[in-house]
């Protein structure tokens, strides 16, 4: 696994989420990418009950990724994170008294997975309670493990199919440009997804995109 960058793509002029995704797929296929299946990333929110009054409730996010189907990741925003077995979900149900599931806040991104040379590109529609909220694109460059080294290379590749809407350097990269990108447990990837999902949650519902 290599350096991964997750970004949100704005919708094309006057097009819906699905149409923009189709445009991106076509561009990727024109480049020569090969479709390799589907992917899903989802995130559930839990409120931590039992806090001292006056303190804001801490939110625990439990995320799953189809790249690592047997694990799940639990993290506080900006805080510590834990990689656990798939049975962690069952454990959270048992911990109902301490953590309450905010059912309406489940965000997920679902879509297809493409491979082009050493790049893995995942284009997904971000949905929250079955209403499409945006488009996420995850780009992974497998051979390199140092984010600072290959950011320019990834930007050049993104320009070829995303056009002018290239994101800036993700904050995760900025904190450790020379360090290794943590590959095996996808912590850095999931942190980026979490940031994207939080942004999407705060956004208004896009007009005319309810499914």
């Amino acid at each position: 696994m290599g350096v991964t960058c997750v970004c949100q793509v704005p919708l094309a002029e006057g097009k819906s989420v699905q149409q923009t995704i189709d445009i991106l797929h076509k561009k990727l296929e024109q480049l020569g990418a090969v479709k390799q299946g589907n992917f899903t990333v989802d995130c559930e929110t839990y409120h931590a009950t039992g806090n001292a009054s006056g303190q804001p409730t801490k939110l625990l996010y439990v995320m799953h990724n189809s790249e690592t189907p047997l694990s799940c990741l639990a993290l506080f925003e900006g805080g510590p994170c834990l990689t656990a077995d798939g049975n962690f979900d069952v454990l959270m149900i048992k911990l109902k008294s301490h953590f309450q599931n905010a059912k309406g806040h489940k965000v997920e991104s679902r879509g297809s997975r493409y491979r082009y040379c050493d790049f893995l590109i995942k284009v997904g529609a971000v949905t929250m309670s079955s209403s499409a909220r945006g488009i996420s694109v995850e780009l992974e460059y497998c051979p390199c493990v140092v984010p600072g080294d290959c950011w320019n290379l990834m930007k050049e590749f993104m320009q070829s199919f995303l056009g002018p809407s290239i994101p800036e350097l993700p904050s995760v990269f900025a904190t450790k440009p020379e360090g290794l990108y943590a590959p095996a447990d996808c912590v850095d990837t999931m942190t980026q997804y979490l940031e994207l999902f939080s942004k999407v949650r705060k956004q208004q519902v896009l007009p005319g995109t309810t499914r």
């Binding site: 390799q36 299946g37 390199c144 493990v145 140092v146 290379l153 050049e156 590749f157």
Partner: protein, 324 residues
């Protein structure tokens, strides 16, 4: 001599005659075409008839001209000379059963093919001799009697000396760490870790570099019993991932090909430690593998690959397709 001159004249007249025949054919075709097309559209009937008749006359005159030309050339062509007997293979051509035993045509093809092969082999050998690929100090083409029975002294070096040279080179480059193993006998196997970019395995035969394998930084280079893994077994498969992420092996095997080219390029049979040092200097230029754009086209990616070629003299980065 006279035969050769005869052949020369015949052939030229022959080719001219063939083009004269083609000209004649086209002018006859033109006659019939103009007849088929009929009269062109003009204002008056007389005008139309006049144009048609003039055209017809022109076409017939060109036919006449071409026919005269052809008759003139046919007198020049003459008889084919009988002075080139084909000896025994020519007798094969007299066999009328062509489809059952096409011996003569196959024989001709075989001769043509072997002539072409000889010609190409001559070209190839002259090209290959320009770049000598021999890595020993023996003279080329020495006869068996004069070939020295003793191995050149640079092949039999004490392992301690090899260790010293390698550790000296390792100290020269701070961002490159070299580990030395001796898994099979006295040949050293080096594991060169270059920054956080690649791990290269270099197999040596005394101080000569025999083979290199370039792998990614997070790939597994050790086999189960701790020995350095020379062959790539399964791809780097994460066993718990349902959708297996195939680490693209082609990128680093391209770099491996370049490294093999480099070790054939840097050759000095008498001074192998200089060779090893230049090879390591070349390898070290890969530390910015993902950060440098190609010097020629200025881009990072060409068909999905970053610039993997490093020039042997200037150490500049080029794409494999840009380096010519």
């Amino acid at each position: 001599m006279a035969d050769a001159m005869n052949v020369g004249v015949n052939l030229e007249a022959f080719s001219q005659a063939i083009s004269a025949i083609q000209a004649l054919r086209s002018s006859v075709t033109r006659v019939f075409d103009s007849l088929k097309d009929g009269m062109k559209n003009k204002e008056t009937l007389e005008g139309r008839e006049k144009v048609f008749i003039t055209e017809f006359q022109d076409n017939l005159q060109s036919v006449n001209r071409d026919l005269n030309e052809l008759e003139r050339l046919s007198t020049l062509v003459g008889r084919p000379s009988e002075s080139h007997p084909l000896h025994n293979s020519g007798l094969l051509s007299l066999d009328p059963v062509q489809d059952k035993t096409p011996l003569y045509s196959q024989l001709l093809q075989a001769y043509k093919w072997s002539n072409k092969l000889q010609y190409h082999a001559g070209l190839a050998s002259s090209l290959l001799n320009q770049q000598s690929l021999k890595r020993s100090a023996n003279q080329m083409g020495a006869s068996a009697k004069r070939r020295p029975k003793v191995q050149p002294s640079t092949l039999v070096l004490p392992p301690q000396y090899v260790d010293d040279v390698i550790s000296r080179i390792g100290r020269m480059f701070p961002d490159m760490s070299i580990e030395l193993f001796r898994p099979n006998g006295t040949s050293a196997v080096l594991l060169v870790t270059l920054g956080k970019v690649t791990k290269t395995i270099v197999v040596m035969r005394s101080l000569f570099i025999d083979r290199t394998i370039v792998r990614g930084f997070n790939e597994n280079v050790y086999s189960e019993d701790g020995k350095v893994l020379l062959s790539r077994g399964n791809w780097n498969v994460y066993k718990y991932s349902a959708t297996m992420c195939f680490y693209n092996p082609w990128f680093f095997s391209k770099v491996t090909d370049h490294a093999t080219t480099a070790l054939l390029h840097y050759q000095l049979p008498q001074m192998p430690d200089v060779v090893v040092r230049s090879f390591m200097t070349w390898l070290r230029s890969y530390i910015k593998l993902f950060q440098t754009p190609c010097q020629r086209c200025g881009k990072f990616l060409q068909e999905g690959l970053p610039p993997t070629w490093r020039d042997f003299r200037t150490l500049e980065a080029f794409h494999d397709t840009c380096r010519q």
